[in-house]
């Protein structure tokens, strides 16, 4: 290997986020791309939830449509035995799950998903442009989360504040999701 190998490599293969450079929204709903995050898709039996929660440092929620956050990690209930765990930056989620010592399935989906942050008084209206769920604060309070549909693609929606949501979307669908959110944000400002 030649001395300049490392530099040569970085010149031809720079990693970019799926939505790098995107920005959009309206006066009612602001759209931002979320910083890179680590994510695992986690499946486990009910009797092993306690051990996994301890190992991950965040309680895996067992109530439908709820999430919990602790130690920079957020665990989202997706199904009766299925969670999406998100950690800002590089959080070592796979190793933490392995340290639980109990039977589980964890798949690193950090780069399968990307996320769009939607905020502002029209945030719920912008998302409802393509999502059929009731996003009133009564039906979908802060911390509520759900896998659902947005237009023609599947998303995982998390309400992070009264007027702010995180939209997790598969990277190959993110261009479409961002475009439709832009239209929803425009409609929300009318």
């Amino acid at each position: 290997m030649v001395d300049s190998g490392a530099n040569f490599g970085s010149d031809i293969a720079a990693r970019t986020l799926p939505l790098a450079g995107f920005h959009g929204g309206s006066s009612a709903a602001r759209l931002e791309t979320a910083p890179p995050a680590e994510r695992i898709s986690l499946r486990a039996r009910a009797e092993d939830v306690g051990a996994l929660s301890g190992a991950l440092g965040v309680a895996l929620p067992v109530k439908p449509k709820t999430s919990s956050s602790a130690n920079g990690r957020t665990a989202l209930w997706l199904g009766p035995d299925e969670w999406l765990v998100i950690a800002e930056g590089n959080g070592g989620l796979m190793q933490a799950a392995k340290n639980s010592g109990v039977l589980h399935s964890a798949a690193d989906v950090s780069h399968r998903n990307t996320a769009i942050l939607v905020s502002g008084p029209g945030a719920a209206a912008a998302i409802n442009a393509g999502c059929p769920q009731d996003l009133s604060l009564k039906a979908f309070p802060v911390g509520a989360c759900s896998r659902t549909v947005f237009g023609k693609v599947e998303i995982v929606l998390l309400r992070t504040a009264e007027d702010a949501f995180r939209v997790e979307v598969w990277r190959s669908f993110s261009d479409y999701a961002f475009g439709l959110l832009c239209e929803g944000a425009q409609d929300a400002s009318l």
Partner: protein, 113 residues
Amino acid sequence: MLLIHCPYCEEDRSELEFRWAGEAHIARPENISAISDEEFAEFFFLRNNEKGLTYERWRHIHGCGRFFNAARDTVSDRFLMTYKAGMPKQPVPETGASEKTVETYEATEGDAR
């Protein structure tokens, strides 16, 4: 919008999140290697395709991902009840079943023949 009650999410959700998954309560024969071709065809291919009350499997594919069972009236497209997979066939509650359905073929198109 047609709403379907998911027994795992414990709430009504849009039909857009669901996918139909065929007739419910069809048990796989335990002696599958011993049965005749006719018996296999009966189990594997043939369905009742009931008009009216029917028991079906549905999947909340864009939600919790789980399969569950539903009792549905195929004439009115009304979901009478849903219950978790693995439970035995449930009796339909009286109130839903006694409701008169409208818009049958005979009622709307019968005279046109």
